[in-house]
């Protein structure tokens, strides 16, 4: 479903993503781990078109999306769920969700998708008129994911959803993400706090210094000493 060939990305002058190649099938759950500042977020943003690709190619469902504008990528179903959330703070929960279905394809199905989101996150159903600025961390995080789903996502690229959340809420978020996956959405997840989410993943990818230093299925990852030591079990 998703394929990267020798992708390089720069942040100003800094070579952040170095020659990354990756292949990933539909329906899976890829967990991306690695030390802070080594490019995990940047990789996600690059895939989703928020940061331009300097060289290399990105393919989504067989199409070359390397030079596509962001809104076209979202229309195709590749959706980014930001760590920084980027919610529309002066708008209500419902308005945010509806805006999530902005692209034409998503808009047609917005009623059904909204029902699904409410089914996933019943809390949101209770507070549609609440202004986003007044939401708690957990509620905002759910809304961010919900809004991503509204975009009719085939692949959700989620960036550190657990950031700033209490353990109980964090686990709930992970469980929701897993059920989203079970319902057919492919998941790409970047996380720091891996211990509780590693169970859900199929494959694990370790990014260090902007490069992939490990990429394999979960069983292999758990056996690999390097990966194990550094990140899992913590």
């Amino acid at each position: 479903m998703l394929e990267l060939n020798n992708v390089n990305t720069y942040y100003g002058q800094y070579h952040v993503i170095r020659n990354v190649s990756l292949k990933f099938d539909a329906g899976g759950f890829l967990l991306i781990i690695g030390p802070n500042g080594h490019g995990k977020s940047t990789l996600l943003k690059t895939i989703c078109g928020l940061i331009p690709v300097a060289s290399g190619r990105v393919f989504f469902q067989g199409k070359d999306i390397t030079r596509w504008p962001t809104h076209k990528i979202v229309e195709a179903g590749l959706v980014y769920v930001a760590e920084a959330r980027h919610l529309f703070t002066d708008m209500t929960v419902l308005q945010n969700l509806l805006l999530g279905a902005f692209s034409a394809g998503a808009r047609k199905k917005s009623k059904q998708t909204l029902d699904y989101v409410y089914h996933l996150f019943p809390k949101l159903k209770d507070i549609p008129e609440r202004v986003v600025a007044t939401l708690s961390g957990g509620e905002a995080r759910m809304l961010t994911i919900g809004r991503g789903i509204m975009s009719n996502a085939k692949l959700l690229a989620i960036d550190e959803p657990s950031f700033g959340l209490a353990p109980k809420i964090r686990n709930e978020v992970f469980r929701k993400i897993e059920s989203i996956r079970q319902d057919g959405t492919t998941i790409l997840l970047v996380e720091q706090n891996v211990s509780h989410v590693v169970d859900f993943a199929d494959r694990i990818c370790l990014i260090e210094d902007g490069q992939i230093s490990f990429e394999d299925d979960k069983e292999a990852a758990l056996l690999d000493e390097h990966v194990n030591k550094a990140f899992i079990g913590g």
Binding site: P69, H71, H86, F88, L98
Partner: protein, 296 residues
């Protein structure tokens, strides 16, 4: 007929005049506000577009004897909209992704302003041009005078404000504009075509200011460099209300237009411009955040 104190009657007349002007200032203010709030661009050529809207109307009136205001609006507004979109596409867009784009955009729009002003000077000459009044005369509700021109300004102004408010809140494009102004990255994430919206915003802004130019032309007379004074007024209004905040612009336009009317009536027209400068200084001194707006 009730006996009303002459003095009170005059004051209400001034109030009416202020409200009428406010409705046009509000339109101008919205145009500048959306450009800044959404595109983060400060369009120095705003005053020039004001003038050009008026010039185009004058051209239509002087070329076709059967011309009337509704047709003028029907022709000029889409033209201004297209001009605005064209400007955004050709002049502004490519600068955005470069270093210091906000400053280079200011500079390039300043260049554009000069270009447009002097183009007008060459094409239309330096003598001020008048626009015909829609209908000579006025109406007299409750004994107050309201010229038809004033009535038009009020009706058009109020309608535009209402339509725009609805547009912003209900339409998908309107909501996308709000979204971009609140969180541009968030707007990208939900799949809003940012570049297209910038284009429409610029077009809308230009159409609004062109409309204002036509409405205010009988008062200001159209001259090539005549757009700077209205531009300054709008700048003050928008800074006073908070750059980028639509609601702030509306309140600010109302307050300042009424004040302007009173100053003009009580102290004379020569005090009007100093009044605006004083307000400006006041904004700088006490509320410089007005220049930074909600998204500062």
């Amino acid at each position: 007929m009730m006996e009303i104190n002459i003095w009170v009657q005059q004051i209400i007349q001034v109030l009416i005049s202020g409200i009428v002007t406010a409705s046009v200032y509000a339109i101008m203010g919205i145009g500048l506000s959306i450009i800044y709030g959404i595109s983060r661009v400060f369009n120095f050529a705003y005053g020039s577009f004001f003038t050009w809207g008026a010039y185009l109307a004058w051209f239509l009136f002087s070329t076709f004897s059967w011309m009337n205001y509704p047709i003028v609006f029907l022709i000029v507004l889409p033209v201004m909209f297209a001009l605005g979109m064209l400007t955004e596409r050709i002049v502004v867009r490519s600068l955005r992704w470069r270093a210091n784009w906000q400053v280079t955009t200011m500079m390039v729009t300043l260049g554009l302003a000069f270009f447009l002003d002097n183009l007008a000077l060459i094409i239309f000459g330096g003598f001020a041009k008048p626009l015909p009044p829609i209908y000579r005369g006025g109406i007299n509700p409750f004994g107050f005078t309201l010229s038809v021109q004033d009535l038009l300004m009020l009706i058009v102004g109020a309608s535009v404000m209402i339509i725009f408010g609805l547009f912003l809140a209900k339409s998908y494009i309107g909501m996308s504009m709000q979204a971009i102004s609140q969180d541009m990255t968030g707007a990208e994430i939900v799949g809003i075509p940012i570049k297209k919206v910038f284009s429409y915003t610029f077009g809308l802004s230009t159409a609004l200011v062109g409309m204002s130019g036509i409405l205010l032309a009988p008062r200001y007379y159209i001259s090539p460099h005549g757009g700077w004074e209205p531009f300054f007024r709008v700048f003050v209004i928008v800074a006073f209300g908070g750059l980028g905040s639509i609601r702030g612009t509306l309140y600010s336009a109302l307050i300042l237009a009424i004040l302007e009317a009173f100053i003009s009536w009580s102290l004379g027209a020569t005090w009007v411009l100093p009044f605006w400068f004083l307000v400006f200084l006041g904004v700088l001194a006490f509320r410089p955040s007005g220049l930074m707006g909600k998204w500062g």
